[in-house]
């Protein structure tokens, strides 16, 4: 029977924490981008679509490296924004949150967009002619009717966040108890002699969390169908 070390427990908790924080942080941005892509016509819409979806096709290591260049001490954001504010992101769990958010963002936007596209345009027009301004309409009509997309996108992003490896290891490193998540811990166990059992134990933890998330997703979906 494998016994988890303190740092293994920390890795499990950190994985959950990073995935949850990244998902919550991405929600308002995901909703805003999905709204723009669904309802607005503007120059550069295709470019925005490409940029948002790029993390789906780019290797996560590339994303991690680009984030490192951007957020590092000599990067544009690192040098001009973070340093004056006294914020250090690289090789902290916060960097892992950013990496996870960037990698999972297109999945969230896609789900919310799919939900928004099913909203009858007449409902939005009815709302406007009944006296609601555009922001009022977004909050009282579009947001509540996008709730399925928001939930599906959140769950998808959370699940993707649990498995994030490539981008995280570049920007946050693999520091046990600080930035080491389940995938990074498994990687370390696999790389070390006699680490197979512990690697397998963490794999089982990972599978359990993923199955629980999928079951929750399914349950929520059925509940919503019943509510209809």
């Amino acid at each position: 029977m494998p016994v988890f070390s303190h740092s293994d427990y920390l890795a499990i908790l950190l994985s959950l924490r990073i995935a949850v924080v990244a998902t919550i942080l991405s929600l308002p941005f995901g909703f805003a981008v999905a709204y723009l892509m669904t309802y607005k016509k503007f120059r550069g819409k295709v470019a925005l679509d490409v940029i948002v979806n790029l993390p789906l096709t780019l290797p996560p290591v590339v994303i991690g490296y680009l984030l490192l260049l951007l957020l590092g001490q000599n990067g544009y954001i690192g040098k001009w924004v973070l340093q004056p504010l006294g914020v250090k992101l690289i090789f902290t769990w916060k960097a892992a949150v950013i990496a996870t958010a960037v990698v999972g963002f297109p999945l969230m936007v896609r789900s919310i967009r799919t939900g928004m596209e099913t909203i009858d345009e007449r409902l939005i027009q009815a709302s406007r002619t009944l006296g609601a301004g555009w922001f009022d309409t977004v909050i009282t009509v579009i947001l509540p009717l996008s709730i399925r997309g928001l939930l599906a996108g959140s769950i998808l992003m959370f699940a993707r966040g649990l498995g994030e490896f490539g981008a995280t290891i570049i920007v946050a490193g693999n520091i046990p108890g600080v930035t080491q998540t389940i995938p990074l811990a498994i990687y370390e166990y696999v790389s070390s002699p006699k680490g197979d059992v512990m690697a397998m134990a963490l794999c089982l933890v990972s599978i359990t969390i993923s199955v629980a998330v999928l079951i929750f997703h399914e349950w929520l979906g059925r509940r919503m169908v019943r509510a209809d």
Partner: protein
């Protein structure tokens, strides 16, 4: 209410170019599918804006490209009833009804929820979710939602076309009573002549993105007699029937009309096709038709290749349509007395 529109709008290959002023509280917008009716109302409601031109309501500009005026839809106070109810699925019936009311400035809140519930008879639906309503109930809530937003004008974009005939004529009295009780001027869009005649006084006729003419609903129906396959329909609102030999007898003109079928309601709207009226120069001794009406020819007018005959029967009127040869044979002239026979089964109950 006075509505002035002088606007142009290009929508793909469709070009709308309208210039008109129309006055009245019950305005109709009539035209075939694709004539630009819905485009025009979307410009008036502010859901789209013209490429150039102006739109004024009672002299107040709500759009004027020359003065860079474009009042957003939420400030125009023009609420809409669509072809389908389009109720907010995440809100209750009460939530839907109050959506516009809550957003209406307190000084403009003249119609209250209680008075609306009474007129539309929807009080019993208040606690329900919108998914548990029938088609007719949903449309009544949609009408209520628009009316309760206390608009200065109501725009109804074919609000009856998605309903079957039975339901349609159940909804019409609610539509009329809501607008009349709360004195809301409206713009009613339809391609049905019958709906136009029931709901409107003045009609703007449009085709291919342009205004064809402006007339009364009755005039529109008569103009369409020649080219419409359904011809002219007389609309008779009859009241307080009594039962005779399996038929209903209604007071009408100088006497009674006998009608077979129908539900015998206290007030019923019947339709009678102008071609279902047979004219006799003299009293026929015996006929199977149960209604023989002694009338005076009040007017005669062209109806395509036929002639429309306006019949005055006491205080009520009917329109019959006959071919020219019949007019010659019967020597029909304005002012002469004539007999009109109508079968008791020729009446169609509308609502």
């Amino acid at each position: 209410m006075e509505l002035r529109v002088a606007a142009q709008k290009q929508f793909g290959t469709f070009f709308l170019d309208m210039d008109f002023t129309i006055e009245g509280r019950r305005i109709g917008l009539f035209g075939p599918s694709g004539s630009g009716k819905s485009t025009l109302v979307s410009l008036v409601a502010g859901l789209h804006h013209p490429d150039r031109g102006l739109i004024l309501i009672d002299g107040e500009p709500i759009f004027d490209s020359g003065q860079a005026v474009n009042v957003p839809p939420e400030h125009r106070r023009i609420s809409m009833v669509f072809q389908r109810p389009h109720l907010f699925p995440h809100l209750s019936v009460k939530g839907n009804l109050l959506y516009g009311y809550k957003r209406c400035a307190p000084k403009d809140r003249k119609i209250t929820l209680d008075s609306l519930l009474e007129v539309l008879q929807i009080g019993h639906l208040l606690g329900r979710g919108v998914k548990n309503l029938s088609g007719g109930e949903k449309q009544r809530i949609a009408i209520g939602r628009a009316v309760l937003s206390n608009p200065r004008m109501l725009v109804m974009d074919e609000p009856l076309s998605a309903l079957d005939d039975n339901l349609k004529f159940q909804i019409i009295p609610f539509l009329k009573s809501a607008c009349e009780a709360f004195a809301i001027p409206y713009l009613f869009i339809s391609h049905s002549l019958t709906e136009m005649r029931i709901m409107t006084d003045r009609v703007l006729s449009v085709a291919a993105g342009r205004v064809v003419g402006q007339m009364t609903a009755e005039q529109l129906a008569r103009n369409s007699m020649g080219d419409s396959s359904v011809g002219y329909k007389n609309l008779l609102r009859l009241m307080a029937p009594r039962r005779i030999d399996g038929m209903y007898a209604y007071r009408w003109g100088d006497g009674e009309l006998l009608i077979s079928g129908g539900a015998g309601l206290q007030e019923t709207l019947y339709e009678l096709s102008a071609t279902d009226i047979i004219l006799f120069k003299r009293h026929p001794e015996a006929i199977s038709a149960r209604n023989l009406l002694k009338c005076r020819v009040g007017e005669m007018f062209e109806a395509g290749d036929r002639i429309g005959i306006g019949l005055e029967c006491g205080s009520d009127k009917l329109v019959a349509v006959v071919v020219r040869e019949a007019v010659r044979d019967l020597e029909i002239k304005k002012g002469m007395e004539i007999y009109a026979a109508v079968k008791a089964t020729a009446f169609r109950q509308l609502g």
